[in-house]
């Protein structure tokens, strides 16, 4: 009964978040596609930036959550941290894929190439591979506890590795446009900043919405495994006593 109460609470929070996400993203799309001025140099191709940057932010946010949850899992050994970590990792992997794809779409008209080996692109690609490894080791680990521990290690190593990969490729060669938004001064028209901020908010809400959904699914998966285990034990008991 308690479990049921919890899940209905989570599902109503999920509904509210979903609604908020839809509204914010709709406003964000309007601001990005209509309200914000056309870029003088890049033209309309620049508008992909209103989804590309927020998706990159969500990917890094997701992997940051994986890192923290992974440390907490290795420390506390509570399954909930692994459920959070793997939910977030999956969202992060999806968004990293989207970042790579949208970046390519932008790079083709602006740079004249789909891909270039600059620091950010290479780091993002390597991050994608590290988290592909995260899910591969989960799939091959066999045992639930082992999958959780091993993937937690990959999550932690990946988090530390990313800045080093970035630095090393940066020294190697670089071409990506410099960050245009900093805390002190935004180097673009006000309308663009507003559109970007609303999109960032929308995608962050989207991340939270997905997290709640995914976390619920992962928790149910674990419960199912527990039930199956208990059931098979009971059956085995029945066989031995009979």
């Amino acid at each position: 009964m308690i479990v049921k109460g919890k899940s209905s609470w989570a599902s109503s929070l999920g509904m509210v978040l979903g609604l908020l996400t839809a509204i914010t993203m709709a406003i964000g799309m309007y601001l990005g596609l209509v309200y914000a001025p056309k870029d003088v140099i890049q033209g309309n191709a620049q508008r992909i930036f209103y989804i590309h940057v927020p998706m990159a932010w969500v990917a890094f946010l997701a992997f940051g959550v994986v890192f923290l949850a992974a440390i907490l899992y290795l420390w506390k050994r509570a399954l909930i941290w692994d459920q959070i970590a793997r939910s977030s990792a999956e969202i992060g992997l999806v968004f990293t894929t989207l970042v790579l794809v949208t970046g390519s779409f932008w790079g083709r008209p602006i740079w004249g190439t789909w891909w270039t080996w600059d620091a950010r692109l290479t780091t993002t690609l390597l991050l994608w591979f590290i988290f592909l490894g995260y899910f591969m080791i989960r799939a091959y680990a066999g045992d639930r506890g082992r999958a959780a521990t091993y993937s937690a290690v990959i999550g932690i190593i990946g988090f530390f590795d990313v800045p080093i990969i970035y630095e090393s490729v940066n020294w190697w060669r670089t071409l990506h446009p410099e960050s245009v938004v900093s805390v002190t001064s935004a180097n673009m028209p006000g309308e663009m900043v507003v559109a970007l901020m609303v999109c960032l908010l929308g995608f962050t809400l989207f991340y939270l919405y997905l997290m709640i959904q995914k976390f619920g699914i992962e928790r149910m998966k674990d419960q199912l495994i527990d039930y199956q285990y208990a059931l098979s034990e009971r059956e085995a008991e029945g066989v031995t006593t009979a």
Binding site: T122, I137, G142, I156, D161, I164, E167, S168
Partner: protein, 223 residues
Amino acid sequence: MKGGLAKISMIIWKDLLTEIRTKELFGGMLIFAVLTIITFNFAFDMTGTGKEASGAGAMWVAFNFAGFLGLGRSISLERDKGSFDGLLLCPVDRGTIFLGKFIGNLLFISLVELISVPIFAALFDLNVFQPLLLLALFLGTLGFAAVGTLLAVMAASTRSREVLLPVLMFPILLPVVIASVRVTTLILTGQTNDVGAWLNLLGAYDVLFLAISYAVFDRVVEE
């Protein structure tokens, strides 16, 4: 600490003794490294001006491949015969076991390099015997062995471990590959200005990943 050192050297000695008796690891790694170098000689044009850059790349790819082979084999040997469980039952700290396995792996890969570097130098006609280059070789191998020992232990207890180890290791090792190849190329072409920065990067990577591997090893072998 003195007792710790004795325990570490016991673990290393155990691995060396196993290798002396079975001869399963070293020969295969060495031949594999040399064959990779030979294959690269045909894959790239080694007569032209860019042979320093391609040569540095060929050397590091050869050592990485041979390293994967060695790491995977050294741990699966332990797992297959159940000796790893015995090792874990020993009344020693798990960190000590990690250090023993790590230094053992470092030793094996270094021995392979010790023999294949002169062969590489002769085949490619490059002067690789320079102190800074050898330092880069050592630092790169150290980082490889630190991450590799941890990941190999993890990969060994999964299905399809041979596939999993390189898939996990290649992306994580990229900074080591970039820095090592860069240092080697710079030294071979005589541009020694930026070498210090790359060596620092290698050193920082080694320290960081040795610390992480040491810290989480205990949790990994618990499973």
